[in-house]
């Protein structure tokens, strides 16, 4: 089946030591529930979900604890039943070492599910299905955690040619997709069938690197069964050459279909969409079983005695997973992800999240500190290795000098940060660090620019308003003086002519009424938000008012001085 498929090549790539065997020897194990789960609310690309629970509440397994903030966001769920201890800032699994809002749950050990209801997506509209997946918290599990419901949209043509399932998993050490495919191939394909229907895709290509023969075999058997059941040949397992980063979505699409999806463009516009095999699995669980995404397979590897894949609940501290694998005594760091793109964790207490495909334990021996950075000699090794056909040394040249415009001209934002360039660099330059730096600086500038545009608009509006107010004031003043003159004239006329005409009377009455109204209005000005106050608040308000009066007294001499 796979022999029929014509394969394409992507430029560049590297072949680092794969180190995958260590963690594929044992089947997937279920990691024990920890004593405390710390579940960050922001686990996917897009808006930060709103917390839906408060400290002290009891939650059930699978209960939504974070609601999606708008459509470009994804919900978060309790991984087990228990009591919410706190909703507070906790250290995030992020290189910055910063904290963000997390729901801390103390499991009660009963692991009690919410009522699970399969979702009949065939009866629901596509939008309803997508909303359901959003609220089930299904996101891409390859590491980028892009909300899946946003990608399950066939786009403007209403149908797709190819649905790509990504089982290439090219990063060294990581085997979570490999073992998932070996052990749960059938379920993955059931998820793929749902995705295929939602996307009206003609065929499903399952790309697997040829260093995973067991996974290929398992997936082929399952694909044959699925094809037989459906009576077509839509599912094809394709073995792709092992070369990092063959598992990059764009690179895999290129290898399987020859299509290059440019940066910033939707792949559906090119008739193709790509999902990780783990995501297909999660889609099946959400739709067919009614289980939101609360756990994932995590590879624990690196400087450990027994590397293995665990099915871990989100919120489990990485430290607990590492402890299951006999970490060697010289371990000095925890990395989330693989050695090429993984993020250095600020500590081992950070929780497993949806993006955690691997917990990699490092040591000075395993990942020695890089030799000192030497000057770039423009040898072009990085350009040869770049899978995005970039000129990394030019991007580095200008990023280093902080000439960001030029770096962007060399298509900095097409860089996928795969690390190939830094891996091959004979000068040991941390190239990717320079790109990350340049990218975040450019983003920050864009944010600043937007803020500046808003500020300019508001400033110009204020000038306009001041101008208008000045004019209005002038007009009012003119009207007032005119009215005053009239009044004076009227008074003179009155004095001269005691018998007032009825017209004058009405006029006078009108003016009096207006004055009365104005007076009443003036008296009516009082604080707007003081109704419905609790007694304590009222007391506070009086206290503040008293203090203000005091300050006003104190301020008076200063004000006078200022005058």
């Amino acid at each position: 089946m796979s022999a029929l498929q014509r394969l394409f090549k992507f430029h560049g790539g590297v072949k680092p030591a794969y180190n995958k065997e260590a963690s594929t020897g044992l089947p997937i194990a279920v990691a024990p529930t920890p004593t405390l789960l710390v579940i960050p609310l922001h686990q996917s690309i897009g808006g930060m979900p709103r917390p839906l629970v408060k400290a002290g509440e009891r939650v059930l397994k699978g209960q939504r604890i974070g609601g999606a903030d708008g459509n470009a966001s994804s919900a978060v769920h309790a991984s087990t039943s228990g009591a919410v201890v706190a909703v507070e800032m906790r250290l995030m699994p992020h290189t910055s070492g910063l904290s963000a809002l997390c729901v801390v749950i103390e499991p009660d050990g009963r692991d009690e599910w919410i009522a699970r209801q399969p979702f009949d997506f065939r009866k629901a509209s596509p939008t309803q299905t997508r909303d359901y997946l959003r609220d089930a918290g299904v996101v891409g599990l390859g590491g980028a955690v892009f909300p899946t419901h946003l990608k399950l949209n066939p786009g403007k043509h209403g149908k797709l040619d190819t649905l790509v399932l990504n089982g290439a998993e090219c990063e060294p050490f990581i085997t979570c997709d490999d073992v998932l495919m070996r052990e749960r191939a059938e379920t993955i394909l059931k998820g793929a069938i749902i995705m295929r229907e939602m996307l009206s895709a003609r065929q499903v290509l399952i790309g697997i690197e040829d260093n995973k023969p067991e996974a290929i075999a398992a997936m082929e058997i399952a694909a044959q069964a699925a094809n037989q059941a459906a009576g077509d040949l839509a599912m094809q397992v394709v073995s792709v050459p092992t070369r990092y980063p063959a598992g990059g979505a764009k690179q895999l699409i290129r290898v399987l279909t020859g299509i290059e999806v440019p940066h910033g463009k939707r792949s559906t516009d090119y008739g193709v969409q790509c999902f990780n095999v783990g995501t297909a699995y999660a889609v099946y669980e959400a739709i067919a079983l009614g289980q939101p995404l609360i756990s994932r397979i995590v590879t624990v590897a690196g400087n450990v005695g027994q590397a293995r894949n665990y099915e871990a609940l989100f919120g489990t501290p990485m430290r607990d997973l590492v402890a299951l694998c006999d970490p060697l005594p010289d371990s000095d760091r925890v990395i989330m992800g693989g050695p090429m793109m993984g993020l250095l964790m600020p500590g081992d207490e950070v929780p497993v999240v949806k993006a955690t495909n691997c917990v990699l334990v490092g040591s000075r021996k395993l990942f020695p500190p890089p030799p000192p950075e030497m000057p770039c000699i423009r040898c072009g090794e990085c350009a040869k290795a770049c899978p995005a056909d970039l000129q990394p040394f030019e991007m580095y040249w200008f990023s280093r000098a902080k000439i960001f415009g030029k770096a962007q001209e060399y298509k900095l934002f097409d860089c996928i940060e795969c690390g190939c360039c830094a891996y091959v660099c004979p000068s040991h330059i941390p190239l990717v660090d320079y790109y990350r730096f340049a990218k975040s600086e450019i983003w920050a500038r864009e944010v600043d620019k937007e803020a500046a545009d808003i500020a300019r608009e508001r400033y110009e509006f204020r000038l306009l308003r001041e101008e208008r107010e000045k004019q209005e004031k002038a007009a009012k003043l003119a009207a007032k003086t005119a009215a005053g003159r009239e009044k004076a004239a009227a008074a003179i006329a009155e004095a001269a002519k005691p018998a007032a005409t009825p017209e004058d009377d009405t006029k006078k009455a009108l003016i009096a009424a207006a004055l009365e109204r104005a007076k009443a209005q003036k008296e009516q000005v009082h604080p707007g938000n003081v109704s419905n106050l609790t007694p304590e608040q009222e007391a506070e308000v009086t206290a503040i008012e008293a203090r203000r009066a005091e300050i006003r007294e104190m301020a008076k001499p200063h004000l006078r001085q200022d005058d």
Binding site: P430, I454, R458
Partner: protein, 187 residues
């Protein structure tokens, strides 16, 4: 001699006529450059440059009446951009106009505020809300950090607080070249 004068006079006449015609024919209205300069300025409207806002400063630069290094909020980078746009030499920030500070927003101590509205009048971008004798508050996302509200406040209840780092706005740092002593010795 007379010939020489005649020739030169003739030449001057012809050329003068041509130039005069061209001056009428190719007259330019407005100045698109101001917009370009204004787009670089940070729009804090703080007036530290000595002009009553970013636009007037932009106009002054375009006319050549102001230096490009008078904008502290724009910082060194802003000066570089202006120098690039105008083809002028880079100058470091002029000290008399202020120093570059980290971005901050004004925060009103609501316990102390007496509701005098003076800050509201001072704010160039209407980022302070409140009414007379009401507590005022700063709409933080709109605040440009211009500090113009600080001096008018009679009770000094406004302070500038730097906007902290969060996971959303965290930036990757510039890679630092570290050469530790061990490596220095071993090579």
């Amino acid at each position: 001699m007379l010939e020489a004068i005649l020739v030169m006079a003739f030449g001057a006449l012809v050329l003068g006529a041509a130039l005069g015609y061209a001056a009428v024919r190719f007259r330019v209205e407005g100045d698109p450059l101001v917009e370009k300069i204004d787009a670089i300025l940070p729009q804090t409207q703080c007036g530290q440059c000595g002009f009553p806002g970013c636009k007037p400063y932009a106009q002054a630069i375009a006319k050549g009446e102001a230096e490009i290094n008078q904008c502290p909020p724009g910082g060194e980078e802003g000066i570089h951009k202006l120098a690039d746009l105008l083809g002028r030499e880079f100058k470091s920030l002029s000290a008399e106009h202020g120093i570059e500070k980290p971005k901050s927003v004004a925060v009103i101590d609501e316990q102390v505020c007496i509701g005098c509205t003076l800050c509201i009048q001072a704010c160039p971008v209407d980022a302070i809300v409140g009414a007379a004798k009401q507590m005022h508050t700063v709409v933080a996302p709109l605040c440009t950090g211009c500090e113009l509200c600080l001096p008018p406040c009679p009770v000094d209840c406004i302070s500038m607080q730097s906007t902290g780092e969060s996971v959303e706005n965290w930036k990757w740092k510039y890679p630092v070249v570290k050469i530790n002593p061990a490596q220095r010795e071993s090579t």
